[in-house]
């Protein structure tokens, strides 16, 4: 079968269960395509040889009751994988091989999936274009020299380019939803506490959340079902009743109330985005849902709040990369000199910028004005959502204020880069689930996404809305295989 890599996860599982395909067939196909796709630079580390071994082993004694039977998949290089180098896209972890497995990836392998390799990402997940990776920028399968978004850029590129049937990313301020939107794929950021953070290289602990990325909503629902679990090893993991998201998936959203927040109509937003949003509103209405104009008054404070809270936590989380215990170490005259050289050479510009911002906002004399105030605003943003959720079941917004941009276009303008996250960060600040689905193309033919934001722990509802909309939108990603010679 030559079109294996074009199949969705759901189709692949069906074909493996019905023995039309073996895990080896599928694994080989994705390895072949991955090997032909070096130009995308989606992988940091591949594990193809052992993936094939595992596939063969699976085929000898296939357990077809598993949720991901013999399915190969690559994961973002922020997840620690036992005995496989894990870099977080950074030079400082260039030689780091964990002796342990993250809970999320453990859950995935326990359901029969097979690791293909580790996917490129912005350094420590800090970026919106995958240009901050020590391992070079990732190309978008949509067009040459186009960014795939970030920080889960390698993951988005790999799913859109069919290098992996599904993948997982992490989302601190939009790092799953924005690249999904840029590459015409589906990305879910679950409720904070839904997926364990154990074994994920931390960026901003109170915002980080792992989530699935896929070609369609059903695949996304299935992967969410696999990765979400209560984990006593993560003190912020929450023990709530988790749905069988894929089995419970329905396109019946009749009577659902969907909020349209006026504050998301930002200045300078391209008309195509506005039009897309309008189309989205019509689609949900066609599905039998009702739309209601709502207000989230503190929305405009979300981005500055995020860029205080996230760097503050990051500045502390990244203190452990000091050259003492593991990872890159530069030679120094003494301890302080070693620290300075290690961290100057080991961290890239964007990471250093955020460490500086974070250190500044936590400093004595500035703490109250920045960090403490940001925490208070964060509470207000959360209150905004709590208030509107008394009236609506979910919220519909654009995923990003623009379509994908060219590599290098925004690298010298961090603020314009940060503005990419304007619609996604409020969701992280409030700890809510949000999903981005492809909803159309701009004039250049680049994908555009819509975001559905749900109530806490109500992933099922936003998956259902996304599922219903997906049917109406009938989006077709334009993948030309431009990178394959």
């Amino acid at each position: 079968m030559s079109d294996i890599t074009k199949q969705s996860l759901t189709e692949l599982i069906e074909n493996i269960r019905s023995k039309k395909l073996s895990s080896t067939d599928v694994t080989k196909a994705f390895i072949d395509r991955s090997e032909k796709s070096e130009e995308l630079n989606a992988y940091i580390t591949n594990d193809f040889t052992s993936a094939l071994d595992k596939a063969k082993k699976f085929d000898q004694k296939p357990n077809l009751d598993l949720k991901l039977p013999g399915i190969p998949m690559a994961v973002k290089d922020l997840f620690c994988t036992k005995n496989i180098k894990t870099t977080a896209g950074s030079k400082i972890l260039n030689n780091f091989v964990p002796t342990y497995e993250s809970t999320v990836t453990e859950n995935i392998w326990n359901e029969g999936a097979i690791l293909l390799g580790k996917l490129n990402c912005d350094e420590f997940a800090m970026g919106s274009s995958n240009e901050t990776s020590f391992f070079g920028n990732v190309q978008s399968p949509i067009d040459k020299d186009l960014v795939p978004g970030g920080s889960s850029g390698g993951s988005a590129s790999a799913v859109a380019g069919q290098l992996t049937p599904i993948t997982i990313g992490t989302d601190t301020g939009g790092s799953i939803r924005q690249p999904a939107s840029f590459t015409g794929t589906v990305g879910l950021k679950p409720t904070y506490g839904s997926c364990s953070r154990y074994g994920i290289v931390a960026f901003a602990s109170s915002l980080d959340q792992a989530g699935p990325m896929a070609q369609n909503v059903k695949d996304c629902a299935l992967l969410q079902e696999v990765i979400s679990s209560f984990d006593p090893k993560d003190s912020t993991s929450i023990d709530f009743k988790r749905n069988h998201y894929s089995k419970d998936l329905t396109n019946n959203i009749k009577g659902k109330k969907i909020g349209i927040p006026k504050e998301y109509r930002v200045d300078g937003m391209p008309k195509e985005i506005e039009d897309l949003w309008q189309k989205g509103i019509e689609y949900v209405k066609e599905c039998g849902a009702e739309t209601i104009d709502i207000s989230l008054p503190h929305t405009s404070y979300a981005l500055p709040t995020y860029y205080i809270v996230a760097p503050a936590e990051a500045s502390s989380n990244l203190a452990r990369y000091d050259g003492v215990k593991y990872g890159f170490r530069a030679k120094g005259e003494n301890l302080i000199d070693m620290y300075e050289k290690t961290r100057s050479e080991g961290f890239g510009t964007e990471v250093q910028r955020r460490i500086m911002i974070g250190t500044y906002v936590l400093s004595s004399g500035y703490y109250d004005a920045y960090y403490l105030k940001a925490q208070k605003v964060r509470k207000l943003i959360k209150n905004d959502f709590d208030e509107v959720y008394k009236k609506v079941d979910a919220i519909l917004t654009p995923s990003t204020p623009s379509s994908a941009f060219k590599i290098g276009e925004k690298t010298n303008d961090p603020v314009s880069m940060y503005l990419n996250d304007i619609f996604t960060v409020p969701v992280n600040l409030a700890g809510l689930p949000g999903i981005s689905i492809p909803a159309g193309h701009d004039s250049k033919g680049y994908p555009l996404g819509l975001q559905i934001i749900g109530k806490a722990f109500d992933e099922q509802n936003i998956l259902n809305i996304a599922y219903a909309m997906e049917e109406k939108i009938n989006f077709k990603n334009k993948i030309t295989d431009w990178w394959i010679k």
Partner: protein, 491 residues
């Protein structure tokens, strides 16, 4: 309250200075595992053998609170008569050091688990109350070893992540003696509770000492200096003595005192500047986002309260009432939990017809002397409480004299022997048969006729001579009381 003449003051020419001291005691929580990981906490293990991925701060590792350590902190808070905070918050204290793998220490800054409390000190001139400001839980750091190699520093992370209670006193202490009593009292309370072993040699109890001076009678505090990480009471006292005098000298010279952190050099017996206020770390405290606020219920606290044993102050009160001990005696017995345990066991084993006063004298006399020479703790006493009680009873019921008892005690040390058996085997039983003693005394008087006459003529000193002769003739076993009586009659 302390009398004027016992005040600890530093005198210079016409000026007298009062010393104000506050302590931040770091007490290691008695717990099998660390504050946020399951690694062991045994003292003296091979370097880096008690280190988990969490303790070594590997990427993606997360802290999970050890409930037992929380209970230990709350129990200690109860023992310090302190307010238990139902909601407390763990913060990160950020600084770089090679033995601090995370690059931050998880501590409690704004919202500690225990609030204000107090302890009572028994000073020679009466009781003194010392206020407790707070108690919070925090992680210990690892250990940097600088003297194994001329070029490199080695790091041992066994201690990294071990739970500490930082107990902060109010600036209520006024002398090295009060500091001594305060540390001993804290140690005693925690050992009663089983929340800290108080072993200063192993570093289970250390303190940062804040010292300032002010003219006697002044209400305002002087500028303080903090002496970091002092690990014995003696050194604390020496450091305070030195530091207070240093500060007074500065004031007398018309200079000002800089607020700074100082180190105590135990070899030179002096404190030295470590860093000034300007160089002080900005620790950038903020709530640890990996941990939710720690919330404990009223029920949780109540259950722990029910679990609190009788503490030294209550035990002392009971000893005074129940056993009619003097406050001084009671203090000696209750200050160390093992001494109190030993004493109570002796009392229990002595049975009905017991002489508690005698037992106390023997414990604080013979037993303490023995332990002192052998360098043993009372928990390691070579004489068990049971045999000790038998010995006291043997004295009490007249089987042996106090003097013979000392000999018996010597024999008991070797292998915790039953004193009853020793008395029998060695024939040390006291002679209390009046007829036999009369015969013995008759012979002595007969043999020393001249001395007997001298005595009768008024040389009363000679009575002692006859007692000595009688004891000698009986091999020391004669009942001295009876000897006295018979001699008086016969002479």
């Amino acid at each position: 309250m302390s009398k004027k003449d016992s005040e600890y003051l530093i005198n210079r020419k016409d000026n007298q200075y009062e010393v104000v001291i506050g302590l931040e005691v770091h007490a290691q929580v008695l717990s099998e595992s660390k504050l946020f990981s399951t690694s062991a906490t045994k003292f003296g293990a091979e370097p880096n053998t008690q280190v988990s991925l969490v303790d070594a701060a590997f990427p993606g590792m997360l802290p999970v609170i050890n409930e037992f350590c929380v209970k230990q902190a709350i129990k200690t808070g109860i023992g310090l008569n302190a307010k238990i905070n139902k909601r407390s918050v763990f913060d990160r204290k950020n600084y770089f050091y090679a033995d601090l793998p995370q690059g931050y220490q998880i501590s409690q800054f704004k919202d500690p688990i225990v609030g204000e409390g107090k302890v009572i000190l028994d000073m020679p001139n009466g009781q003194k109350e010392i206020g407790i400001e707070r108690l919070h839980l925090e992680q210990d750091a690892g250990k940097s070893i600088h003297d194994l190699d001329p070029q490199n520093t080695f790091v041992d992370l066994n201690r990294s992540g071990v739970a500490l209670m930082e107990i902060v006193s109010k600036p209520d202490l006024r002398s090295p003696d009060e500091v001594n009593a305060y540390i001993k009292k804290l140690r005693s309370i925690m050992r009663y509770l089983g929340t800290c072993d108080g072993n200063m040699q192993e570093g289970s109890l250390r303190a940062d000492v804040n010292v300032s001076v002010r003219p006697k009678g002044s209400k305002e505090f002087g500028t303080r200096c903090e002496i970091k990480n002092v690990n014995s009471i003696k050194f604390m006292q020496m450091a305070i003595e030195y530091e207070a005098n240093r500060q007074v000298d500065l004031i007398e010279e018309g200079k000002t005192i800089d607020q700074e952190t100082r180190l105590f050099d135990t070899k030179k017996n002096e404190t030295r500047s470590m860093r000034s206020k300007e160089d002080a770390h900005d620790y950038r405290y903020f709530p640890d986002p990996d941990l939710l606020p720690l919330e404990v219920s009223e029920k949780f606290i109540e259950e722990l309260k029910n679990d609190i044993p009788e503490l030294p102050d209550d035990k002392k009160k009971r000893f005074i009432e129940e056993f009619k001990l003097s406050p001084y005696e009671a203090n000696i017995l209750v200050s160390d939990i093992d001494t109190a345990k030993y004493f109570e066991e002796v009392v229990a084993k002595m049975g009905k017809n017991k002489d508690i006063k005698l037992a106390v004298n023997w414990i604080t006399g013979e037993l303490f002397a023995l332990l002192n020479t052998k360098g043993l703790e009372i928990s390691q006493s070579p004489v068990s409480a049971k045999n000790f009680a038998i010995l006291i009873n043997l004295i009490k019921n007249g089987t042996i004299s106090g003097k013979i008892a000392k000999t018996v005690f010597e024999f008991m040390i070797d292998g915790d022997k039953d004193p009853q058996k020793i008395v029998e085997e060695k024939g040390l039983k006291q002679q209390s048969d009046p007829k036999a003693l009369e015969a013995l005394i008759d012979k002595i008087i007969n043999d020393n006729r001249e001395k007997a006459i001298e005595y009768k003529q008024g040389k009363e000193k000679l009575f002692g001579f006859f007692v000595g002769q009688a004891m000698k003739a009986s091999g020391g076993k004669a009942n001295p009381q009876l000897i006295n009586e018979i001699l008086k009659k016969k002479l």
